[in-house]
């Protein structure tokens, strides 16, 4: 909100020489100053001058010698502009003048001609961006040679604050409101002048216009005044200037007066051409279902129909003429039919208090937000209406009918709230006594009666942010704190006996991320909102959860997999000649509730059970360093499993995992207390899928683990935490090369060996795989090293021999393996 200091000074004697203090104070009050603009500065020395002659300078074709008179006789000035002639009035900056931007004017000699000043363009004067030529002032009333330019143009030096007002402070969204807060904090007297009564005619207003409200719940109060003998014309210069400084375009005296009062007092008003109002009056009613109206912006609006949002009942407040024809959407925007025109002579001026929630609903559903609706939805002062109407009448200056039409329903009255001293300390942690609190609240319009136990506060009706008790107590305390100064409340570091810390899941997640960094992977952050086509491209069919209002049409689905995002991230890097990379991500993937969802409190008031998408926290990794493939994915998984002390996760071949290479993929299946649970997948990305996401740089290893499962020891069991005694006796190794058919997983062979080894087996490790000459077709040799030891003795050769035999027999029985 652009707020000129001169306007603020209409209400309190703010010191124009202390702008920075005003800014600081506004900030401390929560009226944040986003910018400060100095206007009309540096023009004090510039005067109006009459051009008497223009002469060529010998040897110069760009500049001319101009003789001007600024009331003190002829003066010669050199000038490069060509857009004026003798007889014109122009601005002259004499020698010694300092223009905006600290430009000092000096006597100069150009091509032998002496220049005793400078004729100025609008831009040089900081008045506009116009630099086409000298600002010609012939049409400016009051421009005479020698008159200071600021007097001629009616501009004075001013400071304009650009203030952001929080959404809960409609009272401060006005010049008077800002002045009230600021004056209170600075200890200055704040006065809201009563509008001088405009000339009142004998005709009672009831004889000229009518007012009826059918929808008193949507519009609890409306006031209408009538102006007669109005001459629609441009506004006086001072008023137009203030509107411009506040960022509003002047239109005509009636509309400008209405806008001026909205900016000044925060109350929107609406002037109608009374002679164009059917039945010479206003009727306020609910819009009928599907009723249509063309608003001032030329858009046809359909009303009275509930929208999509929660709590939208489709109730719209319509302003109609007395015959019932709609002429505007109450509090939001008028229609064109009864607009003020040049021929308007009688004005019905309407001001109302609308139900804030009703305005908010209608404005949101129609996507129509105006200066008026933004104020009404936050809540205007229902008892500030009369002043606003009087002020508009005063500014228009036309004669008024006697009295005003005033229809009221249940209009909010001032609330009274008791705030105990105990509560003030309990909330703020600083003891502000009741007398002090009263002295803080009173200047900003609150009534405050200090008592022994606390303060009885009367809340002014322009403060809809202060709720009724009990919540209003906190609201009043905030006002006390705000005016006391947040910075005056000393901080205190609280302490409590409960220890802080991470949960085991959070610690393990960090461990997982660190392990991934340890294997050379970089953590990435890929989009959660994706195109459903990505899912289909990786063979993931079925429903995805859709976003109703995406920013980008294609990015409208919650991801079901991180594969597309990670492969694309790989492609991004590969395209920048850095494809030798491993990436991982820890993030959420979503499932459609039709497949797997979860219930939660929902609906209006949280009274219904709503269905939400299932969410899974996954670790996913793409491995594309030189030589990376499914083997490396296995290796990375083993590092992770080791880091987490997992002891029972099987790698089970599976050719049907979406997105993965069908003959180089497996599921990770955990054996835990609750049986077997798939907890992830690993292998290689299907090359066709990788290509679909823009990566064709070779094999891509893939690892994906559901952290919610893998980190749950009930699902994926972990090695016991109790220390295992390490044998002090030497161990014996047995190497077995077993010929096994390709169709038999090595894991099956290993399981048989481990089972046969019993308690004496310390470890079993696959150390070589051989295919080639000497092997039967469709077979390979798997070489295992079994290490045996006993806690209490050295194993004899005999014992080791028996263990070896048992292992071979077990492998043969279980898998058909034969010793090579």
């Amino acid at each position: 909100m652009k707020t000129p200091l001169s306007w603020l000074r209409d209400f309190a004697a703010f010191d124009t020489s202390e702008v920075s203090r005003l800014v600081t104070t506004l900030d401390e009050l929560g009226l944040v100053v986003e910018g400060v603009e100095h206007v009309g500065e540096g023009l004090g020395d510039v005067v109006v001058a009459l051009v008497e002659g223009v002469d060529a300078i010998p040897g110069a074709d760009r500049i001319r010698l101009v003789t001007v008179d600024a009331g003190q006789g002829p003066l010669e000035v050199v000038c490069g502009a060509q857009n004026f002639a003798p007889g014109d009035l122009v601005p002259l900056a004499p020698v010694g003048a300092v223009l905006p931007g600290d430009v000092e004017i000096r006597r100069r000699t150009m091509k032998g001609a002496v220049s005793n000043g400078m004729l100025c363009s609008a831009r040089e004067l900081g008045l506009s961006d116009d630099h086409e030529g000298i600002l010609v002032l012939n049409d400016v009333e009051g421009a005479r040679p020698g008159v200071p330019l600021t007097d001629a143009l009616g501009i004075a030096e001013d400071v304009v604050f650009d203030i952001t007002v929080e959404g809960n402070r409609p009272d401060a969204w006005s010049v008077a409101g800002v002045a009230r807060d600021l004056a209170g904090k600075l200890g200055l007297a704040f006065t809201l002048p009563d509008p001088a009564p405009a000339l009142e005619l004998g005709t009672p207003v009831e004889a000229l216009a009518s007012l009826e409200i059918e929808a008193l719940d949507l519009c609890p109060r409306m006031v209408v005044g009538v102006l007669e003998g109005v001459r629609v014309a441009p506004s006086p210069r001072w008023l137009a200037r203030r509107l411009l400084l506040a960022g509003m375009r002047p239109i005509n005296n009636v509309v400008d007066a209405s806008n001026y009062v909205m900016l000044e007092l925060g109350q929107p008003t609406h002037p109608y051409d009374l002679d164009r109002l059917g039945g010479a009056g206003l009727l306020v009613r609910r819009a009928r279902h599907g009723e249509r109206l063309v608003t001032l912006d030329g858009v046809e609006r359909t009303l009275g129909t509930p929208g999509r949002g929660l709590g939208d009942t489709g109730e719209d407040c319509l302003i109609c003429d007395a015959e019932g024809s709609p002429i505007g959407i109450g509090g939001i925007m008028g229609g064109a039919s009864s607009e003020i025109s040049d021929s308007t002579t009688r004005v019905a001026l309407e001001a109302a208090y609308f139900s804030p929630m009703a305005i908010a609903r209608t404005s949101k559903r129609l996507g129509l937000r105006t200066e008026a609706s933004a104020r009404f939805e936050r809540g205007c002062d229902p008892w500030g209406i009369d002043r606003a109407v009087d002020r508009v009448c005063e500014l228009v200056g036309a004669p008024c009918a006697a009295g005003k039409l005033d229809v009221r329903g249940a209009v909010p009255e001032p609330e009274r709230i008791f705030v105990s001293s105990r509560r003030i300390v309990a909330v703020l942690g600083v003891d502000i006594d009741v007398a002090r609190a009263a002295s803080l609240l009173e200047p900003i319009g609150f009534g405050a009666e200090p008592g022994d136990e606390g303060l009885l506060v009367t809340v002014p009706t322009n403060r809809p942010d202060i709720r009724p008790a009990p919540y209003g107590v906190e609201d009043v305390i905030e006002e006390i704190a705000r005016t006391y100064g947040y910075s005056q409340i000393p901080g205190r570091q609280p302490a409590w006996p409960e220890p802080g810390g991470l949960t085991q899941h959070q610690k393990d997640r960090r461990l997982v991320a660190d392990a991934m960094c340890g294997v050379g992977a970089y953590e990435a952050w890929t989009p959660s909102l994706v195109d459903d086509a990505d899912h289909r491209a990786m063979g993931l069919f079925g429903p995805a959860v859709r976003v109703s209002n995406p920013i980008v049409k294609e990015e409208a689905w919650l991801r079901r997999s991180m594969l597309p995002g990670l492969v694309r991230a790989l492609a991004w890097n590969a395209n920048r000649r850095q494809g030798d990379v491993r990436l991982f991500e820890i993030g959420t993937v979503f499932s459609h509730p039709d497949v797997e969802g979860r219930g939660a409190r929902g609906g209006s008031g949280g009274t219904q059970e709503a269905v939400l998408p299932g969410e899974h926290e996954l670790l996913a990794a793409v491995l594309a360093s030189a030589g990376d493939d499914a083997r490396h994915a296995v290796a990375v998984w083993r590092v992770l499993a080791e880091a987490l002390h997992l002891d029972a996760v099987d790698v089970v071949a599976d050719g049907s995992i979406p997105g993965l290479h069908p003959t180089r993929a497996a599921r990770l299946v955990a054996r835990g207390h609750g049986g077997s649970t798939p907890i992830g997948a690993l292998g290689e990305v299907d090359p066709e899928v990788a290509a679909a996401f823009g990566y064709e740089g070779g094999r891509v290893g893939w690892l994906e683990v559901d952290l919610g499962l893998v980190l749950d020891p009930n699902v994926a069991s972990r090695r016991p935490s109790a220390a295992r005694t390490i044998s002090r006796f030497p161990s014996s190794d047995v190497d077995l090369a077993l010929v096994v058919a390709d169709g038999v997983p090595a894991a099956k062979v290993e399981a048989a060996l481990v089972a046969a080894g019993g308690d004496l087996l310390e470890s079993a490790r696959l150390f070589d795989v051989y295919r080639g000459p000497g092997m039967p077709e469709g077979h390979r040799s798997l070489a295992f090293r079994l290490r045996f030891s006993a806690p209490d003795r050295t194993l004899t050769d005999d014992e080791v021999g028996r263990l070896r035999r048992a292992a071979i027999d077990a492998a043969e029985a279980a898998t058909g393996a034969t010793l090579r």
């Binding site: 809960n168 942690g429 600083v430 609201d475 991320a513 660190d514 970089y522 979503f590 209006s604 180089r664």
Partner: protein, 350 residues
């Protein structure tokens, strides 16, 4: 002389060539030979020029049919060959993922890095854990109740315009959202756990805003919630200051000024010493020496009412700020969009 017999011969030879191709490469060659510019078919087509119009039309029709047939045959053969080649490739590739030996575990000679946002999240968590906070988390999809209404933001309330919201196509329209802040986790915590509560809540949030240098539609927040006996605004101010100096350094301080959030009362904006100029005043801080970092306040009694906590017995404060923004401030990152690009040259700096 062009005759039907000749056409049949051309067609038969061509079909033979296509069907007998045993690889995609051979098929491509065969296609050129029987359908290309130098094929018998093309030459037969050229010979049509010498015929009278009626004959030409009839013969042309036959040739066109032959071409269509051959093209279909080529496509069919192509699909079959592609499927076979993929099957062969898959078979050749077949790998028993349980026969990987440990020696194949590649020797790792370099280290990866956590994403800057994750590093920042950890640092923030660690600072708060050291101050006695636990770390809580919650879902990213929420109902209107958790994201708004229980936080004292009723349906259609104008304050909702403070958060541009993504709605999900589930249930009644506009009842399920992607959380716009981490605050719904506050509600879950207070519903599920009796006070005292001292928790920070990091997580991913969503706002329907076009990405620019300072905003991302998907971003990360950390929220704090303390509910205990005797908690006051002074405790809030102290906690914010302790955090600020602990995270940013001893010469960076915080201050509070009045603000508005529906779920806190009193509410405050947190400003901290500009980390660029260390408070001297620069372009980033518009010469003020301070930059906005966070929002905070005392938990509104209406929020306590929604979760059934007695506001006479318990008081509390909450705060929230952007993890990405902290990272941006600490590392002087001009454009936040670089955070989602996953370019390793960017990632490996931190």
């Amino acid at each position: 002389m062009i005759g039907t017999a000749r056409f049949a011969e051309i067609e038969r030879d061509a079909a033979d060539a296509l069907v007998s191709a045993t690889s995609l490469a051979a098929l491509a060659e065969a296609q050129t030979a029987v359908l290309g510019r130098r094929s018998a078919l093309a030459s037969a087509h050229r010979d049509l020029a010498g015929l009278d119009p009626e004959e030409r039309r009839a013969a042309g029709k036959i040739l066109h049919e032959i071409r269509t047939h051959l093209e279909a045959l080529a496509a069919e053969r192509g699909a079959a060959l592609a499927a076979r080649e993929r099957a062969e490739m898959l078979d050749r590739d077949r790998l028993d993922l349980t026969e990987v030996t440990d020696d194949e575990v590649c020797s790792v000679i370099r280290r990866g890095r956590l994403h800057l946002v994750d590093q920042t999240r950890r640092e923030l968590e660690d600072v708060f854990v050291a101050m006695g906070f636990t770390v809580a988390e919650g879902p990213e999809a929420e109902t209107d109740w958790y994201n708004f209404e229980a936080l004292n933001i009723p349906p259609a309330h104008p304050a909702r315009s403070m958060w541009d919201t993504f709605y999900l196509d589930l249930g009644q329209p506009e009842t399920v959202v992607l959380r716009t802040h981490t605050s719904p986790v506050q509600v879950h915590l207070m519903e599920e756990q009796a006070p005292p509560i001292h928790a920070v809540i990091p997580g991913r949030c969503y706002r329907r805003e076009t990405a620019d240098a300072r905003h991302l539609p998907v971003f990360h927040q950390v929220e704090g919630l303390v509910v205990d006996h005797g908690i006051t605004f002074a405790d809030l101010a102290g906690t914010i200051e302790t955090f600020t100096t602990a995270y940013f350094g001893a010469d960076i301080h915080s201050r509070l000024r009045p603000g508005y959030f529906p779920f806190t009362e009193p509410s405050a904006e947190v400003e901290v010493t500009c980390t660029i100029c260390r408070g001297k005043g620069c372009r980033t801080c518009s010469g003020t020496g301070w930059v906005e970092l966070a929002g905070c306040g005392m938990v509104d009694p209406a929020v306590f009412a929604a979760v059934g906590i007695d506001p006479e017995e318990w008081t509390g404060f909450a705060f929230g700020f952007g993890i990405d923004r902290c990272a941006q401030m600490r590392h002087v990152i001009a454009d936040s969009r670089v955070l989602g690009e996953n370019d390793v040259r960017f990632l490996r700096q931190f």
